[in-house]
């Protein structure tokens, strides 16, 4: 089974990469982009027996840094 973990910076944590992307979009002439936040998408292929709690532990222990990041877990049918 596939699991998608989205890791994003917490609100309030400065995201210089997001800001640079926003400036580049403006430079390309796109209008109306108020803010850009860059994150990560981590895809895991796991055994069906792997529990939600275990995936949450993976996020807390390694995949996300809880000081600066939030995560969201999504199970995807293979």
């Amino acid at each position: 089974m596939k699991v998608r973990v989205s890791v994003s910076l917490k609100p309030g944590v400065l995201d210089p990469q997001g800001r640079a992307i926003q400036h580049s979009l403006e430079g390309l002439g796109f209008k109306g982009v108020h803010d850009v936040r860059a994150g990560k998408l981590i895809e895991l292929d796991v055994d069906d027996s792997v529990t939600d709690a275990a995936i949450e532990d993976m996020c807390k222990q390694l995949l996300a840094n809880m000081v600066i990041e939030n995560f969201r877990i999504e199970r995807v049918a293979a």
Binding site: V13, L14, P16, Q17, A20, Q61, L62, L63, N65, V67, I68
Partner: protein
């Protein structure tokens, strides 16, 4: 008095480990052990552990994230909790925050550029075992070389660090957007220091300055009463 025993941890991608070992050998004397990240144990009776700069594990996932979970770090964390002094420089600082030995995190530099130059620092706490050979408020010139040195912690944590004298060094100029210009922080017990600037690159005249020596002299003074 037994001689000074120090260890430098090498992770895959560390590149300041030799400089760190040289600084320890030249300034602290005694014996410096080189320890590989995959080892489970540290040498006995260490007086000092250093986590060097570099790009451990290619900075995969987050700077220092993989290194912080490598086998040797369990031993380093246990040693730190027993009171053994631990210094993390640059990537070593990132490993210390990722391992939970120090609060906060190091984000991408606010200017997005890799910063590689000498910067002026202010010694904010000259009472720690890493800084006692400096004077309070002393201005020192130490090089930085990093892409992710922008120190971040929430306001409550920053207030606590300031209130408890745990900001060891502060940038005296704008470098990377760090919260409150913090360049180096101590743990609660004062035996763990993380800093982005590289004191090991400023220990002899040929380096262009010697402002980093006092950090290693402080450690020696504290431990072997030299």
């Amino acid at each position: 008095m037994s001689s000074f025993r120090s260890a430098v941890i090498t992770f895959p991608g560390s590149n300041c480990d030799r400089d760190m070992a040289m600084a320890l050998e030249q300034v602290c004397g005694g014996e410096t052990f080189r320890v590989w990240h995959g080892d489970a144990d540290l040498p006995d009776r260490l007086d000092f552990i250093a986590l060097p700069g570099g790009f451990s594990y290619g900075d995969y996932l987050r700077c220092g994230a993989m290194a912080a979970r490598s086998p040797i770090m369990r031993a380093v964390i246990a040693a730190a909790n027993r009171g053994v002094p631990v210094l993390g420089v640059c990537n070593g600082f990132q490993v210390l925050t990722e391992s939970g030995l120090l609060p906060g995190a190091l984000l991408r530099n606010a200017g997005l550029r890799f910063v590689c130059r000498e910067v002026m620092l202010t010694v904010e706490n000259s009472q720690s075992l890493f800084t006692s050979a400096y004077s309070q408020g002393q201005q020192v010139r130490i090089p930085v070389a990093h892409h992710d040195g922008n120190y971040f912690a929430d306001d409550a944590t920053l207030d606590r660090l300031e209130g408890e004298g745990r900001v060891a060094f502060r940038y005296a100029e704008e470098v990377n957007g760090s919260a409150r210009a913090i360049a180096g922080v101590l743990n609660d017990a004062g035996n763990v220091l993380g800093m982005m600037p590289h004191p090991e690159r400023m220990i002899e005249a040929a380096h262009g300055g010697t402002d980093g020596r006092a950090l290693f002299e402080s450690a020696t003074r504290a431990l072997v009463g030299a």
